[in-house]
C-alpha cells in the first residue's frame, strides 16, 4: 500500500475519532451542567412543543440573526444552506448503492459550492469593511474562513478545472469505512482538499464550530416559560434548602 494512502487513512481515522469523541465530550459537559434558574429570553413558548418550534426556527431559518442584521443573515444563510447541500452531495462517495435522494440533489449540490464561496466571501468582507466586526475579529476568525474557503475552492477545482479520479476516491472512502484500505488517487488537488477537511474535523471540538451543538443547549432558547407553574431547583441549589 502506498505511504500516502496510509498517511491519509490514519489522518481520517484520527480526525473522525477526535471529532466524535471531542464533540461528544463537550456535549456531555453541556448536558451535565445544571441551569439553576429559568432564563428564557421572553416572549418565550409556554410549552415544550413551542420550544421545539422556536429551536427549529433558530436552527433552520436563523430567526434571531435575521432580526439582527440582514447582510450577515444573507451571507450566513447562503453559506450554511449550500454547505448542507454540498455535504449531502458528498454522501455518494461513502455509499454503494447511492440513496435516491442523494442522486436527486446532485444537480443542486454541484452549483451549491459557488454559493458557499459567495457566502464565505461576504462574511469575510464584513470582517474588513464593518469597523465593529473588524474590531472583534481574531486571527482564528480569519483563518477559519480561509480554511472553509480553501475547502470550497479546491473542491470546485476538481469539478471544473482538473478532474480527479472519482472512482478511485470512492473506493478509498468505502475501503476506509470497511477497514479494508484501498489506494488513494495521488492527485495534488484532492490531497489538499482532503487534508483541509481533516483539519476542519480535527479543530471542530476546540473551536467556535462548537456553535453547532451549543445552540441546542442555550438556556435562553431551550427553556419553557413556565416558572410560576413548575418549581425547578438544581441539585447544587437544593442543598441550600437542607441547611
Amino acid at each position: 500500500m502506498p505511504v500516502l494512502t496510509i498517511v491519509y487513512a490514519s489522518l481520517f481515522y484520527a480526525a473522525t475519532a477526535i471529532l466524535v469523541f471531542g464533540v461528544g465530550y463537550k456535549v456531555y459537559g453541556y448536558a451535565r451542567t445544571p441551569a439553576p434558574l429559568k432564563i428564557p429570553t421572553t416572549p418565550a413558548p409556554t410549552t415544550a412543543t413551542g420550544v421545539v418550534f422556536r429551536m427549529a426556527r433558530e436552527v433552520v431559518l436563523f430567526e434571531s440573526l435575521f432580526k439582527a442584521t440582514k447582510w450577515t443573515w444573507i451571507f450566513g444563510y447562503l453559506f450554511h444552506f449550500t454547505l448542507v447541500l454540498v455535504l449531502l452531495r458528498h454522501f455518494r462517495y461513502f455509499q454503494e448503492p447511492v440513496w435516491l435522494v442523494i442522486n436527486l440533489i446532485q444537480p443542486f449540490g454541484m452549483y451549491a459550492a459557488f454559493g458557499m464561496v459567495a457566502g464565505l466571501a461576504g462574511l469575510w468582507a464584513r470582517r474588513f469593511l464593518v469597523d465593529r466586526v473588524r474590531y472583534i475579529s481574531t486571527l482564528s476568525d480569519h483563518l477559519m474562513l480561509a480554511l472553509l474557503l480553501a475547502i470550497a475552492l479546491s473542491g470546485l477545482g476538481m469539478k471544473y478545472v482538473a478532474h480527479t479520479d472519482i472512482v478511485g476516491l470512492k473506493s478509498f472512502m468505502l475501503g476506509l469505512m470497511a477497514f479494508e484500505l484501498q489506494p488513494l488517487p495521488e492527485d495534488p488537488l484532492l490531497l489538499i482538499h482532503l487534508g483541509l477537511v481533516a483539519t476542519l474535523m480535527l479543530i471542530f471540538p476546540i473551536s467556535k464550530l462548537l456553535h453547532a451543538p451549543g445552540i441546542f443547549f442555550s438556556p435562553s432558547r431551550n427553556q419553557i416559560d413556565n416558572p410560576r407553574e413548575h418549581r425547578y431547583v438544581a441539585p447544587w441549589a437544593a442543598k441550600l434548602e437542607q441547611k
Partner: protein
C-alpha cells in the same frame, strides 16, 4: 442639574450607529466597595493576595454550576449580530461596550485557562492571562452593562451578555473587588429589609402621611396597611415607591385600586422591598436570602396572595426565580414549597404583577374609571428590559407588552407607541439598570439613555407626547434624572398606576 462635565449626545431623528472610538469610556469607573460593605455581605474586604488563582478557581466553579456561562463562553462565533444592539455602545461608541467585546473580556481568560486552543495557541484565539490590567478592565466594563438582555434577542445562539456580566461580578466580588453602589444596597436590604434602609417606624410614618394626603385630596379614607395579619394580599413593592417622585404616585394608585376593589391588603416591614440586587451581582445565595424575606413575611402574615409592585428587575426575580429560590409559586412537591402553597389561594398566580391584578379588575368592571381625567396627558409606554425580555404577564407569551398598554388605554384617551424597533422585545434599557443607577456613573447613564431619548423625541415631535409611562422603579429614577439633560421635563416619566390613580373613581359605584 449641575453643568455636565461631558458632552451630552445630540438627538437625531434617525438613530445612527456610531463609529467605534477606542477607550471612549475607559475613564468611567464606578466606586469600589469599601471593606465594611464587602464584609457585611460575606465577601473579602479587599483584593485578596492570590487573586488571580482565586479568580480562575471561581471561574471553574461557575463553569460547573451554570450551563449558561459554560455554553455561552464556547459558542460565540464573532458574527457581530450584537455589535450594534447595546445602548451603551450606541451612546458612547466605546467598542468594549459592544456585547461581544464585553463578553470577550471574560472569554479570553476562559480560553487561556480552560480550553485546549487557548492553552497552547493563545495568540491565535485571542486568549489572555488575567493580569491586573485585564482585571481592572473587567471592573470598568462589567459595571457598564445593565444586564438588559437586548443582545440576547439578536444573538443567533441566544448568548445573553447579562449571564457573563453576572459571572464576572460574582468572580470580582469573590476576590474582594465589588462595586460600592450595589453591594451597599444588598447590605441594607439584608440588615433592614429594604434598599433605602428605611426602618419600620419611618415606613409607618410615611404611610400615615400618604393616607392623610389621599384623604385631603379625594375626601376618601384610603388605607395603607402595614404588617396586617390575615390580609388577603401581601404587596411587595420597590422601596422607592415609599419615598421618591414619581414612584409614590403609583403606590397611591395601588392603594386606591385595592380600596375600590374592596380587597384587603398589607405591606410588610420585613419584606418592604421587591427589588433584589442579588440578581445584579449574579450571586445565587444572596438573591435567595433576599427572596426568602418575602416568603417569611407571607407565612408570618398568613396572606392568600402575593402581588408585586411596579419594578422591572424585581418582577424578573419574582416571576422567574421566586418559585425556585423561595417556593413562591406552584408545582413544587417538596415540604418547603407545600408549606406556602397550602396557604396561598391557588386560583391566582403566585406571584402576581400589580398590572395583572388591576387589568383583571378593569376588565371585569370591578373598578370604575373616568378616562377623561387623564386627558391632559398624551402618553407613550417604555417597556422595561427585565419585564420585556425576562418575564411575562397573563397567560400568553407577550402578555407583558399587552397588559400594561391595555391598562393605559382603559384609563386614558391619548396613547402612542414609540418606534417598533425600540419597544416590546427590542426595547432599550433606560440606561440605569443592573446596578448602575449611581451618580458616579452619570456620564454612562446619560449617554446610555440616548436610544430611548431619540425614540421618545420622535413621538414628542409627531404626537406631542408629554408622558412616558413605565413600570420600573429604576427606569423612573433614571429618567427623572436624565430627561433634563436632553431638554425634557423630569416630570414626563411616571408609573402606570399613577395614570390609574388619576382616573379611578373611589366613591360608591354609580
Amino acid at each position: 442639574m449641575a453643568a455636565p462635565t461631558f458632552e451630552v449626545p445630540k438627538l437625531k431623528e434617525i438613530s445612527e450607529v456610531p463609529r467605534i472610538q477606542k477607550g471612549a469610556m475607559a475613564h468611567t469607573k464606578s466606586y469600589v466597595a469599601s471593606a465594611a460593605i464587602q464584609q457585611a455581605i460575606g465577601f473579602p474586604g479587599e483584593l485578596v493576595e492570590n487573586w488571580e488563582e482565586k479568580a480562575i478557581e471561581k471561574m471553574g466553579d461557575l463553569l460547573g454550576k451554570y450551563r449558561s456561562f459554560k455554553v455561552y463562553l464556547d459558542t460565540c462565533v464573532h458574527c457581530g449580530a450584537c455589535s450594534d444592539k447595546c445602548h451603551y455602545f450606541l451612546g458612547t461608541g466605546d467598542p468594549i461596550n459592544m456585547p461581544v467585546a464585553r463578553q470577550d473580556l471574560v472569554r479570553n481568560v476562559y480560553r487561556r485557562h480552560f480550553t485546549f486552543a487557548g492553552k497552547y495557541f493563545p495568540k491565535l484565539v485571542g486568549a489572555k492571562d488575567l493580569t491586573r490590567d485585564v482585571l481592572d478592565q473587567w471592573y470598568t466594563y462589567y459595571n457598564q452593562c445593565s444586564e438588559c438582555r437586548r443582545c440576547s434577542v439578536f444573538c443567533p445562539y441566544g448568548i445573553d451578555t447579562a449571564e457573563i456580566t453576572m459571572g464576572a461580578k460574582e468572580i470580582l466580588d469573590s476576590i474582594g473587588y465589588g462595586q460600592k453602589y450595589t453591594n451597599e444596597i444588598i447590605g441594607k436590604v439584608q440588615r433592614i429589609g429594604n434598599n433605602l434602609g428605611l426602618p419600620g417606624p419611618a415606613l409607618e410614618d410615611t404611610l400615615e402621611g400618604l393616607e392623610e394626603d389621599i384623604e385631603a385630596e379625594t375626601g376618601v379614607a384610603v388605607r395603607m396597611p402595614l404588617n396586617q395579619k390575615g390580609a388577603e394580599v401581601l404587596l411587595v413593592t420597590p422601596s422607592a415607591d415609599f419615598f421618591s417622585e414619581p414612584h409614590v404616585e403609583s403606590l397611591i394608585g395601588y392603594a386606591k385600586v385595592f380600596h375600590a376593589a374592596g380587597i384587603s391588603w398589607t405591606l410588610s416591614t420585613h419584606a418592604s422591598e421587591a427589588g433584589n440586587f442579588g440578581l445584579f451581582i449574579g450571586n445565587y445565595e444572596t438573591m435567595r436570602n433576599i427572596a426568602l424575606r418575602i416568603r417569611e413575611a407571607a407565612l408570618e402574615l398568613g396572606v392568600k396572595r402575593i402581588i408585586v409592585g411596579e419594578c422591572g428587575h424585581a418582577w424578573r426575580v419574582a416571576y422567574s426565580f421566586w418559585n425556585t429560590l423561595a417556593g413562591i409559586g406552584a408545582g413544587g412537591n417538596d415540604p418547603f414549597s407545600i408549606e406556602l402553597q397550602q396557604q396561598l389561594d391557588p386560583r391566582y398566580p403566585a406571584p402576581q404583577h400589580i398590572c395583572e391584578f388591576t387589568y383583571d379588575l378593569l376588565k371585569r368592571g370591578a373598578i370604575t374609571v373616568d378616562k377623561s381625567a387623564n386627558d391632559h396627558r398624551i402618553i407613550t409606554y417604555h417597556d422595561s428590559c427585565n419585564v420585556a425580555r425576562a418575564s411575562r404577564m397573563g397567560d400568553m407569551p407577550g402578555g407583558q407588552f399587552v397588559i400594561p398598554r391595555e391598562i393605559i388605554k382603559m384609563v386614558a384617551n391619548h396613547y402612542h407607541d414609540m418606534a417598533a424597533d425600540t419597544i416590546h422585545e427590542s426595547t432599550f434599557c433606560c440606561g440605569g439598570g443592573g446596578g448602575l443607577l449611581t451618580d458616579d456613573l452619570m456620564e454612562l447613564r446619560v449617554k446610555g439613555a440616548l436610544p430611548r431619548m431619540e425614540a421618545l423625541n420622535n413621538v414628542v415631535q409627531d404626537h406631542q407626547v408629554n408622558f412616558m409611562a413605565t413600570i420600573c422603579a429604576i427606569c423612573k429614577a433614571q429618567f427623572s434624572k436624565v430627561l433634563p439633560y436632553y431638554g425634557f421635563e423630569m416630570g414626563m416619566v411616571g408609573g402606570i398606576h399613577q395614570l390609574v390613580s388619576t382616573a379611578i373613581q373611589l366613591g360608591p359605584k354609580q
